[in-house]
Symmetry: C2
Subunit: 180 residues, 2 copies
């Protein structure tokens, strides 16, 4: 049993939060390959099986990292204000600053059952309000995600002008912005 019903995905005990923090640090400093149960346990001075006393599964541990990342990210986006270009720049900056975390957060299906309720919706709301239209918000979100994930994966040719590609994206969706 990984977590009780009312606080699904919440980090129950202090040890579990500590484990997630170590995992996050390893992810940032050494990349996704360092995110193994044995490695994390070693960093905490214990054996891998002992982690299961606190975490349930590696998926749950990853979900804890994702949850902290989502919260951090949405508060970073919130500071960007109500300008599409600024929000886009902020989105890109966060992803580039935390590439391994971004990949963990977006590269796999969201483990919704392991995350705190409402976290996902909370992160999406600002963009929907900014664009006015829910479908346009999803298209903008997808475009930003696509640009970032292709950039992080080194998919653009060496000489590609990514600033220009972002500008083209913002220009294309600029007309869809809600007037107020």
């Amino acid at each position: 049993m990984a977590c009780a019903l009312p606080t699904a995905g919440s980090v129950a005990d202090a040890r579990r939060a500590e484990i997630a923090a170590v995992a996050r640090r390893l992810l940032d400093s050494e990349g996704p390959r360092a995110l193994s149960m044995r490695r994390i346990a070693a960093e905490l001075g214990m054996q891998a099986p002992s982690l299961y006393e606190h975490v349930g599964s590696k998926a749950q541990l990853e979900a804890d990292v994702i949850a902290s990342g989502l919260a951090e990210w949405s508060s970073a986006l919130a500071t960007a204000g109500r300008d599409l270009a600024a929000v886009a720049a902020s989105y890109r900056a966060f992803a580039v600053a935390n590439p391994a975390l971004y990949e963990l957060m977006t590269g796999r299906p969201l483990p919704r059952d392991l995350l705190p309720l409402g976290l996902e919706a909370g992160a999406a709301k600002p963009l929907i309000e900014l664009l006015g239209d829910e479908d346009a918000a999803r298209a903008v979100w997808a475009a930003a995600h696509g640009l970032v994930s292709l950039e992080l994966a080194g998919r653009f040719p060496p000489g590609a002008d990514l600033d220009a590609a972002w500008a083209a994206m913002v220009r294309a969706f600029g007309g869809a912005q809600a007037q107020r």
Copy 2:
């Protein structure tokens, strides 16, 4: 030594092509977890180490699958003609029909040194010609990739109208299309 210089990434011998075909079939039928050297070898009635007589590394084997996928994909896109909405629909249809292959092709950094020369540029050319602008082409490509990858990862909320999101994307970039 995986491959000679002039035909970097080309599938040299028949056995190597057969291995890639088996890998592709396993990927389609059982998903990415079945793409292991031991599993592929078993399918061919041999031991995993024997694969290295023909393939060099797992990365090279994956590159062979990616190369065949890219060729197949760009010819599928070519049949869609010169209409942005049609190309977008074709892009999405290919990805949805071959989710594991799409993920393999786009989810990791492109192993350019293991791919045939020109294959990547050839796949990108139609879109650049359609949009006229290179930066706009990249933004559209990213938007399509973002929509598809978020869809495949189950990132959109259950009730999301994805057709509408695609329509919003096509609408936003419609003005950027080259007039001829």
